[in-house]
Amino acid sequence: MKELLSGNAAIARGAFEAGITVAAGYPGTPSTEILENFAKYPDIYAQWSPNEKVALEVGAGASIAGARVLVTMKHVGVNVAADPLFTLSYTGVNGGLILISADDPGMHSSQNEQDNRFYALMNKIPCLEPSDSQEAKDMVAQGLEISEQFDTPVMLRLTTRVSHSQSFVEIEEPGPKNIRPYTKDPLKYVMVPAYGRLRRIFLEERTAQLKAYSENCPLNFIEWGDRNVGVITSGISYHYIKEALPNASVLKLGFTHPLPENLIKEFAAGVERLVVVEELEPFLELQIKALGLTVHGKDLLPSYGELSASIIARSLAPLGGIAVAEEYLAQPEVIAASETPLPGRPPVMCAGCPHRGVFYTLQKNKLVVSGDIGCYTLGSMSPLNAMDTCICMGASIGAALGMEKANPDMARRTVAVIGDSTFLHSGVTGLIDVVYNGGTSTVLILDNRTTAMTGHQENPATGSTLMGKPAPEVDLEALVRAIGVKRVRTVDPLNLKELDQAVKEETAAMEPSVIVVRRPCALLKKAITSEPAEVNKEICINCGICLKLGCPAISRQEDKAPPHVTAIQCNGCGLCLQVCPKGALVKRGEENA
């Protein structure tokens, strides 16, 4: 039976069919739906970990104990998990282990662009790159075989277009779920220097064996066509090539580390000129050049952003001697829609979002805001404009400490802002640093009871798990007290007065302080909604202060007209009622109260 599945759903299906019984990860676009889908299958175990490092460690343990394992994360998550990864390469596995790295060329939903195939090179582990959903599913099973045969973790590297594009997948029956026996083997699993040195040699032997395997691996294959130009490619680019250069000879690499050197040489010998087409870094190109072959690649194609059939067609056409599909080559007769750019449609905090009041308050107090990663990063956007930095998960707290150490004047006007899930991911250690090293930072933990930005996943503070089971909730106030923070208070972000007072007092205090700002995300079922607001046009003086909240429910219907609340969008959070200096904003039905 064929089903139309996204790459992510196909990976989950592949994991189920191939007998994976343990899966762990941390949410991150474009990887999140893999575990969400996998968790729905019977007779398996899947979990969100507090961060990617822990997820991979759980995976390592499960593999050593004999299970087949899936560990999922986005590209930047692999940075967090890099520590266990580098040594997991030495210990190898018992049950097969697949690490998903979902890269995001074009930064659709990421703070940077990185080509994680280099992690495979540096770790000396195999890398597989699917180009559609069927391959994504098949590579899970193949990857597990490789993992077990060669005693290595295997990286399955996705990109946003593979993760989020849907194509047909053949659905098969699940195979058996075998747990391999565990045998104590300190030489393999205890990486002290003496044993590590032995495994170091094993890595070289394994790499040699993997190279030989890669030569005959069915994931690498040649499609002979026009011999004038031969294209070496991997991942989604393969499909762009099939459209842009339908007659070209193609060497399609599904197993991209270690490379099949002889196959590449054979292909090179069969064509006049070689071109490497790959998204992001010249990963294949550099290694192919190291073989002494002459190739084109990044001299013609961009090394940032996504590729497309059109980009490839137009970049390679100047080479000459290559049949390029007309439809992609010609700058199409585009209907020029607009001489002046249209207003953009950036994402915004939802109407009634509990974060809005926080950034309104921080901006009003003219504070330097050391930011972090989550929906609240939108506090950096107009009209709130209340964020100074955003670097990576958990960075807000350490960065705030650094600011005050560099410039003591900043101590009283700097706050760190971090979400519940991000705080537990990697903010806790930053806070320990603040207390330990005598910082005075004020940290606002925005606890909206969920991991909102990636689509509302559970986390250790939400009281439930990925598989829908109840779980103990981390007591954030008790946790930060235990670290040594003495000034800890909890406020409701919908109470602007209380919030403002808390922020003023805590930034003035010359010791570390934490304000837990607690209110469920407006999109959660448990979010409290009430009567929508409306503007009493008779009282409104049209000062526009309510518009500074940036609530999508409040707008001027016409230029210079007084603000208006769109009732179906408003969830009645009541913020605008608090900022209006004249009391013109009221709850529906309460005008006369």
Binding site: E327, I335, S338, G344, P346, V348, P383, T454
Partner: protein, 191 residues
């Protein structure tokens, strides 16, 4: 051989483009097409633009639609229709829901909503259809079925039989909403 078809669905988060895409993909599957769908999902919040690219054919490789090559654009919001117009083929069809959703820069007064966007599209594209899908859906009993009204209009213009569409709709819409949605589809189909 089947002609390949490129269909672009554009709108604003929360307008139901995802369900529409699922119905379209199901109908195309039933009709024996190869299909690729590309959906870029951003952050969880509402209000951002949503673009879905659907490609049908004998054999489809790339999931992406190039500029100037969409056979049909189904625009759930009218400024988005204007924004994505460069993707339409010279002789392509554009179906537009007559609804304006102001983005934040407009709400805060930093930008102005192009009130003339429908006129501009009509001037530039050769086959434009404008429909008040929201009102039709309200008449059918549920404003949320506006997406299915638009589906009905798209269905009429694709080489897939009506029976196949109805089957796909029944397969993809939850039981309790099926009556409203069948009505909405009919209305769109007959426009």
């Amino acid at each position: 051989m089947r002609k390949s078809l490129n269909i672009l669905l554009v709108g604003v988060g929360g307008q139901g483009t995802i369900l529409a895409t699922r119905v379209l993909a199901k109908a195309a599957q039933e009709a024996g097409y190869d299909i690729k769908v590309s959906e870029i999902k951003g952050m969880a919040q509402r209000g951002g633009s949503v673009v879905t690219q659907v490609r049908l054919g004998e054999k489809v490789y790339s999931p992406l639609i190039a500029e100037g090559s969409a056979d049909v654009i189904l625009a759930f919001e009218k400024m988005e229709a204007l924004r994505w117009l460069p993707y339409l083929k010279q002789d392509g069809h554009i179906i537009i829901n007559d609804q304006a959703i102001a983005p934040v820069p407009v709400l805060t007064g930093a930008a102005v909503y192009p009130e003339d966007c429908l006129e501009r599209v009509k001037q530039l594209a050769c086959h434009t259809m404008v429909v008040d899908a929201l009102n039709i859906a309200v008449d059918c009993g549920n404003p949320k079925a506006a997406n299915v009204v638009l589906m009905g209009m798209l269905a009429k213009r694709l080489p897939i039989t009506k029976e196949t569409w109805l089957k796909a709709l029944k397969a993809r819409v939850p039981e309790r909403f099926i009556d409203v949605n069948l009505k909405a589809f009919e209305q769109g189909f007959n426009l």
